[in-house]
Every structure is written in structure tokens, then in C-alpha cells.
Amino acid sequence: MSFVEAIVEPFRYPFMIRGLIAATSVGGLCAVVGSFVVLRGMAFMGDAIAHSILPGLAGGVLTAGRGDRRALFWWALGTAILVALGIGWISERERVREDTAIGIVFAGMFALGIALISTVRGFAVDLVHFLFGNVLGVSNADLVLIGAFGGAVLLLLLVFYKELVAVSFDPTLARTLRLPTSAYRYLLFVLVAVTVVVSLQTVGVGLMLAMLIVPASTAFLVARRLPQMMAIGALLGVLSGAIGLYLSFHWSVASGASIVLVAIAFFFLALLLSPRRGLLGRLRSG
């Protein structure tokens, strides 16, 4: 098989085209939102939101049945936003350390989800899709949801960009400028939650964190300004989605894993070669 054939062949299958569209848009979206996750050190929180969706999905399966994908999406979205707000609320109280609070919510919700879903017959399949995603099962309606909600997230990031950057870089400045820092913090948490839900079907919960932080961290190694970091991260996210899906198609590897492995490969390449923070750059400058 020639290179061109290898590139063109997946396009003979509509499910592959839909999968490619989903993987690349999710890759790009996650990297842009992930830039804030990386810079604010919110990785654990992103992971927690992803895992905490399970009881919501279980609720959807129990009430609407697993065939009703649209209902499952809304259940997941509602749960994720609630969890994001809940974590924000607990961590503001300072009763417990933030990572402890997140850990408790994370573990509690995940256990509740498993308990609920274990009452459903044939739950193992649901669980596997939840954990590892099912990018080849993406429907046209799913693509519309990804586009609509992903677009809304990006739009909000753009509208509140300068405030979100200030709140993330120097919260004290934001407070002395009397910006409503708490509102912006919650906004950011909710944007992460929506991103997680939108990306759920593509990479699954288990690898969600990777999509949020790996392309963004790679971009962090080479960028000097935040818009640059977001653009490079988005490009890497899109490339990882496309290349990963191709490798998965030709080598019959699980698609989510293959996407993440490509993203990780980019990261190590940048770690080695980045002129700003790379290992080689360090060696040269002595």
C-alpha cells in the first residue's frame, strides 16, 4: 500500500471521517482549554471532573436507556457542571486542602457511578466506552454537539480572555482591581467541565487528562506568550488526533490510546529540542 493509499483509505468509511472530525476538533479544543489547566495547575481537577461524570451517565442509562445518546449527553453535562461548581465551592472554604477536597469528590462520585451502573445488565460495555472512548461510534448528531458546545467554550474564552489571564497569573492583582475573581474562577471550572463532556466520546475518561494537558504542556515548552501557546497546542492537538486515528486504523490499536501516545511523542520531542526550555537548548547554553 502506498503512502497516498494509506492516507486516503480511511475516507472510504463514513465512520472514519466522522471519527477524524471528532478527534481533531476535540484535540484542538482540549489544548486551548488545557493551556489554562496547565498554567493554573488544575490537572487533578480536570481528571476528577472527568471521572465524576460516571454517576450522571449511569443516571441517564437508568432513566432513558443506553440507546438514547442525546439524553446521556445532557446527563453527563449536568453532572460535570455540578461537580465543577461543587469542587470550586469546597476548595474556596479552606476547611480541607484543595487536592484533598478534589480527591474526595473524585473518589466518591466515581464509586457512586460504578455502584449505579453495576445494577444495569451488560454494564461492562458501557463502562469500557466510558473509560476508553469510542471515537468510531461518533454520530452526526454527536458532531453537532461537539461543534456547538466546543464553539461556545472557545467563544467564552475569547470574550473573557484578558480577565481569565489576569486571574490565573496574578489573583492578587485581579482582586485589587476589584474584578470578580471568584466568578471567573467558576467560569473557568465550568469551561473545563464542558470540554471534558464534549471530549468524552473521543478519548474516554481514562485518557481525558492527557488531551487536556499534554499538547498544552508541549506548547508551553516552546511558546513565549499565551496566545502562541494556545495556537501551538491546538495545532498539536489536531495533529495528534489525526495521526493517532490513522495509526489506530492501520495497526488496529485502540484509538484513544493511539491519539494520546502521538501527543506524548510530540511532548518528548519538544522536551528534547525546544530552544527555550528543551534539554538540548540547556546543554548548548551550558
Binding site: 498554567l39 470574550v159 473573557f160 484578558k162 480577565e163 489571564v165 489576569a166 490565573s168 497569573f169 496574578d170 492578587t172 492583582l173 485581579a174 482582586r175 485589587t176 482591581l177 476589584r178 474584578l179 470578580p180 466568578a183 471567573y184 508551553f220 511558546a223 513565549r224 506568550r225 499565551l226 502562541q228 501557546m229
Partner: protein, 289 residues
């Protein structure tokens, strides 16, 4: 300055869900800062008590005291970031939390220097509230940022990522941000910490230059000599206010011993009395424990 003029200086407030209450209007004859009977409790412990002083508009005050004396707490309270547990803080006649004219410059160690922003970006952040939500920086904002960068001689480094600056340059960047914010009161937390002599002098010169812009300044410092030489007034602190006024009156042997305890050494030299204090020493903290 009349109320209307000062309102104009503050810029009209734009109301929106993300731009909450109206800003405080400066009272014409009020001092820049008036603090009376201030106490602050942090985590159930008294961090600061018995602080009373006034600072005239445009004047410069150095806050000195050993580590853990509550210098940072005082500055944060003046900025409206920490509520007093008793007593009152007035900035230009109003409680501090309504003001957007207070520039707070944190210790450099509190900042994530790897954050991907340039010097220009950071200085522009000082203008966010004046630009307002849903808007981008306009030509006048860019001009003000340019002037602020020029005033601290950072124009050439405007597009550097902030980690690439020296300590002195980083401190000058924050002063530029205070200028861009059009602050009337600058609160600087240990701006000289970790700087070499040359950078120290540059930063001190810029702080002194705030007078020409009638910006009042309150600066936390370690160095008693600099506090005495470069500031109108000093405030000696060790969890409670020990003295406030001109350095010559405040830095008496009794006051200094009270503030610094065993860390203080009074040396009789040929040309007079020297007071040496060990900044690495725990200071009055030990006395209190």
C-alpha cells in the same frame, strides 16, 4: 481635587454582571491613608494589632520590622485583600475594597515567572478594569502602557517573556504596572529583596519618582538605613505598632530593641552609635513564643 474631578480621573464605571459595584470616589481633603486601631486576625491568631497612622497624599512611608512582624499583612489589609478584625482603614476617605487606584506589588517569590506573558502583557494587566469587560485595549491604553514602560526604562524589553528579566527589571515592571493602573497609592512588599546594589538604587530612584506623580507609597523593607534615608516616615512593626513618624524619632534604641529583641546589636563606634540588626534572625518572634 473636587469629587467630580476625581471621579473623572477614575474613569466612569461600567456596570455589568462582571463589573460589579461602583468605584469609591476620593474625598477631597482626606489623607491618602488613615488607619485607626487596626487589628487583623489570621487563622485565629492575631497577626497585627494597635496600628494607627495617617499618610498624607503623595507621602512615602517605609514599614519595617523583623520577619513575621506583619508587614505583608498590613499591606494586604490596606489593599482591601484582608478584612480588619477591628479598627478602620480609610483610603482617600473610603474603605479600601471599593478602590481600583491601589496598586499592590507582591514579593517577587509569589509570582510564577514561567507564565507565558511578556512584560508588555503584564503592564497591560494593570488596565483591565479601566478597559472594562467585553472590550479590548484601545489606543489610549496602549499609549499609557508605552509611557509606563518608558518611565521605568523597560521599553526595549517590552516583548521579553518575564522570566528573562533580572530581579531589578522584574520589580521595575511591576512599578510600570502600577503606573499603567493609574494608581494613587502603591503598596510594595519587599521590593528590594534579593536585588544587587545597582538594581536597588534604580528601584529606589523609581519609588522616589512616584512623588512627582503624587502617588503615595507604602513600602515594606528590611533595611533600616534605607527606610531612614529615603522615606518621609517610618512605621516600626512587630505584630503591633511600636512607633510611627520620622525615622529619627522612631528608631530609638528602646523601640528597636522592642522590635528586634535579641537580634539587635547596638555598637558604639567612633563616629556615633550604630545599630546592627540581623535580618536572618527570627527577631521578635522568638520573644513572643
Amino acid at each position: 481635587m473636587t469629587n467630580r474631578e476625581s471621579r473623572k480621573r477614575q474613569g466612569g464605571s461600567r456596570r455589568s454582571p462582571f463589573g460589579r459595584r461602583a468605584r469609591a470616589v476620593h474625598l477631597a481633603d482626606a489623607p491618602a491613608v488613615a488607619v485607626s486601631g487596626l487589628s487583623v486576625t489570621l487563622g485565629g491568631r492575631t497577626a497585627l494589632t494597635g496600628v494607627t497612622f495617617e499618610l498624607a497624599a503623595g507621602a512615602q512611608l517605609a514599614v519595617v520590622g523583623p520577619n513575621g512582624a506583619g508587614k505583608t499583612t498590613l499591606l494586604r489589609t490596606l489593599a482591601g485583600l484582608v478584612p480588619p478584625s477591628s479598627g478602620e482603614v480609610r483610603v482617600h476617605g473610603h474603605g479600601p475594597s471599593g478602590h481600583i487606584c491601589i496598586a499592590y506589588v507582591p514579593q517577587r517569590s509569589r509570582i510564577d515567572w514561567r507564565f507565558p506573558v511578556t512584560v508588555h502583557d503584564v503592564v497591560m494587566m494593570g488596565r483591565i478594569q479601566r478597559i472594562g469587560p467585553f472590550r479590548r485595549a484601545g489606543a489610549s491604553d496602549r499609549r499609557i502602557v508605552r509611557e509606563a514602560l518608558a518611565a521605568v526604562e523597560l521599553t526595549d524589553l517590552a516583548h521579553r517573556q518575564i522570566e528573562e528579566l533580572s530581579g531589578g527589571q522584574q520589580q521595575r515592571m511591576f512599578l510600570a504596572r502600577a503606573l499603567a493602573q493609574e494608581a494613587d497609592l502603591a503598596l510594595l512588599d519587599e521590593p528590594l529583596a534579593g536585588l544587587d546594589l545597582h538594581s536597588r538604587n534604580e528601584v529606589l530612584k523609581l519609588i522616589a519618582g512616584l512623588r512627582d506623580r503624587s502617588v503615595s507609597a507604602i513600602v515594606a523593607l528590611h533595611d533600616l538605613g534605607i527606610a531612614a534615608a529615603s522615606f518621609d516616615e517610618v512605621l516600626l512593626l512587630n505584630r503591633r505598632m511600636i512607633g510611627h513618624g520620622p525615622a529619627r524619632a522612631v528608631f530609638s534604641e528602646a523601640n528597636l530593641r522592642e522590635a528586634y529583641g535579641s537580634c539587635l546589636h547596638v555598637v558604639e563606634g567612633e563616629s556615633g552609635t550604630f545599630v546592627v540588626h540581623d535580618t536572618a534572625c527570627g527577631g521578635g518572634d522568638d520573644e513572643l513564643r
